[in-house]
């Protein structure tokens, strides 16, 4: 019996491709966002609200879903370039899927790239896509203790969007408790409170996205 030393990262291949995606984004002056949330928190609806307001900036979207291209159709209806990745059961996007999706976008015409991950707060945490910023979205119909349950995502996120604030009178979700819980995990997290339904808070969020583009 002998030992063979390995000392290799299991996701090294993903990390290498993510690094090359990141290099490409920097070279082409693209700011990429990785949007993470549980299913049904309103990722696509938020994009539908924001994208028409920043159509003077060249935006593109990569949609990740387990099945169907329904989300991509919604973005396509806005006239925004979009590529759908169907993972066929896969619970997260990886850097290689994003790299392949980029083949179907005109990357010389992108300033802001929104990558909507598969709705899941666990698995996507381990997979760097090459994004500049991770944005986690939670909605008021979920528990305000969500950050304590899905720590890795909240620990690595840069921004947290709380959606569906129009429902606050009807649900037990307390935004202050949610923020307090999230800040316990990640004291540097910044927050936006929006309702993609009524449009409340959307202007502030849109302005923030606008400022993230390369100068």
């Amino acid at each position: 019996m002998t030992f063979v030393t390995v000392e290799r990262k299991i996701l090294e291949k993903n990390d290498q491709i993510a690094a090359s995606n990141r290099e490409l984004f920097t070279k082409k002056k693209i700011t990429a966002f990785n949007l993470l949330s549980s299913p049904g928190s309103g990722k696509t609806t938020i994009l539908e609200r924001i994208l028409p307001k920043i159509n003077d900036i060249k935006c593109s979207v990569i949609e990740g879903d387990v099945q169907t291209d329904r989300d991509a159709q919604r973005i396509n209806n806005l006239g925004i370039p979009v590529v759908q990745i169907v993972t066929h059961g896969g619970c997260h996007l990886d850097a290689n899927l994003v790299k392949d999706a980029l083949q179907n976008l005109d990357i010389t015409r992108i300033r802001l790239l929104f990558i909507e991950n598969v709705g899941n707060l666990v698995c996507p945490a381990n997979y760097d896509l090459g994004e500049k910023l991770k944005i986690v979205i939670m909605s008021t119909t979920e528990g305000d203790d969500k950050p304590l349950k899905y720590t890795t995502i909240f620990r690595t996120a840069d921004v947290c969007i709380i959606n569906k604030i129009d429902l606050l009178p009807y649900v037990d979700f307390n935004p202050d408790t949610a923020k307090k819980n999230a800040l316990k995990i990640n004291p540097e997290l910044s927050f936006f409170q929006v309702s993609a339904k009524t449009g409340e808070g959307i202007n502030e969020l849109t302005d923030w996205f606008r400022k993230q583009g390369h100068k």
Partner: protein, 113 residues
């Protein structure tokens, strides 16, 4: 369920390494997993066994070591283990900390015969 994808990557790396050790058999694969990665050891083990069935790795076993999340406080400079994912120094309650361990996800070594 990302454990299946992780098991796949483990097998790819072993295949690559064993090309340099022809004729030898892998009996144990030492894997290091940090608690922050949210990889469930039982699921990973199950996926690995399922994926290696009827391959040259079918007799190999995963030996998984879990690394707790630990950090150092910038304020009082003490080291501590983070329990219940409270990212606060238990000594001085500062949140200005650096997480040093808990994000590991790598193959340490193979035991071969």
């Amino acid at each position: 369920m990302h454990e299946v994808g992780i098991a796949h990557e483990i097998i790819n790396i072993i295949n690559e390494i064993m090309q340099e050790h022809p004729g030898q058999k892998v009996s144990k694969v030492k894997v290091i997993i940090g608690e922050m990665t949210a990889v469930v050891p039982e699921s990973l083990d199950f996926a690995y066994q399922a994926l290696t069935e009827n391959t040259f790795l079918h007799q190999s076993k995963l030996d998984i070591e879990i690394i707790p999340v630990s950090a150092q406080c910038h304020h009082c400079l003490k080291n501590f283990t983070i329990s219940a994912f409270e990212f606060t120094c238990p000594f001085c309650h500062s949140q200005d900390i650096t997480v040093n361990n808990g994000n590991e996800l790598y193959i340490k070594e193979l035991e071969v015969d």
